[in-house]
Amino acid sequence: MLLDIRDLTVEVEGREVLTEVDLQIEQGETHVLFGKNGSGKTSLLMTIMGFSGYRVKKGKIFFKGEDITNFPINERAKRGIGMSFQRPPTIKGVKTIDLIAIFNSDEKSVNEAAESLELTAFLDREINRGFSGGEIKKSELLQLMTQNPDLILLDEPESGVDLENIAIIGRAIKKLLQKNLRRLRVNAGLVITHTGLILNYVEADRGHLLLDGRMRCEGNPREMFATIQRSGYEVCARCQK
């Protein structure tokens, strides 16, 4: 088991945002997280990554069999968890390449990754400064591609991205998740999506529905998304597979 979350209850500023959540992800699997705004999806990703402000009240997070519930963020990153942020901060005066060079010194692979995302010109720009919605998403993916984590947490990778760029982003995620490999696939993903568009590019193995901080349904992601589109989140939650 790559990621094993058991009975996880999380508070943000005294308010419970996740309640008794269970989630298991095996190596090579891609899971999708559905849910309304404010249902706790981003909180779950932030808690897995270890951000301050997300206080684990109960439960445990295991990664590669190790209890990481109380690990600092960078220790989780070092063990192979990576995340793309929905609204990352701007880092004044630090070029994107300056950051990437810290965790990946292979110039050739960095340049290739940047080219595949049509982001070469952005390497010399300050991190996220003046980036459009689509550029932020691509820059986040570039950092992940060069960081090469085993578990990839993607928070709405397609939101605010035009159709042309969705294809580019879709290809990049496919590569990150090693979808080109039929066997021996080891990288796993947990993806939040609202639009479901990313499902057209990335074959997902399992879907989960979060409502009011609780896991309410799990199943085939395409079927779940179809139900949600047709009848809404509440109906999907009622199926209780």
Binding site: I73, N74, P89, G93, D98, I102
Partner: protein
């Protein structure tokens, strides 16, 4: 007695508008003279290292001119390019009939006790001039060095960029490594004539009990550009300066960048004032300050006197410890309708969000903090040649290491 001297005498005890008041009598007035060193081969290894830390290359390579003053003596004045003049201001006063169009013209001798004292106890300074149409190939460097404990050094500098000329100046102000206490008063009057471009980079690196009172005024004529980059990474006991740039001619442009750090026990009151006096003039003031226990006042003032002038002021402060303080005081003074002036000021500690974002890429908290501080101090120094940019980046980086 000359008229100037009489006025100076009358202003001898006049307190400055800003900064702590300094008892000038507590500093020594007389220095042991240093011999002229034509080839700059009499400097000790330690002196060479101290000067290198403020961007001064003793050998004079890759420079179009060089000036070195130790205590009160002009130890070396050299110019390596036709049309570039470098000499001590004492020599220039003699050679050019008292520099009557320039001496105490941009700065008023009765501004305060420091300007008065610089006249009454004059200890040299530099005179740099680049002739009409000449583009200096390399930067001209000027170093003002205090080596004697407790000494007052009162310099008066003149810089003239004649019409259409181009010049980079790098000034390093520093003290001997063992020196604790000293006083540096520096009068600087710069004249940037029609169509000329001057980039002035000043690096301060003082002993911890040194008091510094620069008084700088710059006149910028039609179509001319004055860029200033000020770096103060190793703060003194007290520095107070409020250089003033007058954009006197149409379409004159200025940009003033400052980065400074105050550690415990030091007080920095540093600003910049630009008066936009002519149509089409533009100004930008950008200040980045870090307090690690010291107190900083960062002033900025833009005065718009003609419709359509454009100016912006940005002042950001980063608090790296719970002690110390940063006060940002941006002022905009529009005197006619139609001026376009704006400012942004921010003071705070490093955002947790930024640190954690970088930690999610595997950086430790310490590494993340260092990267953010480095980025914060990475001000785009306009107008600098690449080699000088690299030198300054290196100096800033070294200071960062000692800061964190």
């Amino acid at each position: 007695m000359s008229e100037v001297k009489k006025r100076a005498e009358a202003a001898q005890i006049k307190k400055a508008a800003y900064g702590m008041d300094i008892d000038l009598s507590s500093f020594r007035k007389d220095a042991v003279p240093h011999a002229y060193d034509a080839k700059l081969n009499c400097l000790s290894g330690e002196e060479i290292k101290t000067m290198a830390d403020v961007g001064i290359i003793p050998a004079g390579g890759l420079r179009s001119g060089s000036f070195l003053q130790m205590d009160h003596s002009a130890v070396n004045c050299s110019a390596f390019q036709e049309g570039v003049e470098v000499m001590s201001s004492a020599e220039a006063l003699q050679k050019y009939d008292g520099l009557k169009d320039y001496w105490w013209k941009a700065v008023d001798v009765v501004t305060d006790k420091y300007t008065a004292n610089a006249e009454l106890a004059f200890n040299n300074g530099y005179f740099i001039r680049v002739r009409e149409g000449i583009k200096a190939k390399f930067p001209v460097q000027a170093c003002l060095y205090i080596g004697e404990e407790g000494l007052a050094q009162n310099v008066h500098n003149i810089l003239i960029a004649e019409e259409g000329s181009e010049l980079h100046v790098i000034t390093g102000c520093t003290t001997a490594p063992k020196l604790k206490r000293g006083l540096h008063i520096g009068i600087s009057e710069f004249y940037i004539k029609k169509g000329a471009t001057v980039t002035f980079t000043m690096i301060h690196n003082w002993g911890e009990e040194v008091v510094v009172r620069p008084r700088t005024a710059v006149w910028v004529e039609e179509g001319a550009t004055y860029n200033s980059n000020f770096v103060c990474m190793k703060p003194a006991r007290s520095i107070q300066m409020f250089p003033s740039v007058r954009l006197k001619g149409e379409n004159a442009v200025t940009r003033l960048n400052s980065i400074m750090i105050a550690t415990s026990g030091s007080e920095l009151d540093i600003g910049g004032r630009v008066v936009l006096e002519a149509p089409g003039t533009k100004a930008e003031i950008l200040t980045r300050t870090i307090s690690k226990g010291g107190s900083i006042i960062a002033r900025g003032m833009l005065i718009g006197e003609r419709p359509g002038v454009k100016a912006h002021l940005e002042c950001s402060g980063l608090m790296l410890s719970d002690e110390g303080s940063i006060r940002a005081i941006p002022e905009l003074d529009g005197r006619v309708a139609g001026v376009e002036m704006s400012h942004e000021a921010a003071v705070g500690k490093i955002s947790q969000e930024e640190i954690e974002y970088l930690m999610a890429r595997g950086l430790s908290e310490r590494e993340a903090t260092a990267l953010i501080v480095r980025g914060f101090l990475r001000v785009e120094m306009v107008g600098l040649p690449d080699s000088l940019k690299k030198e300054i980046d290196r100096l800033v980086e070294e200071s960062e290491k000692s800061l964190l």
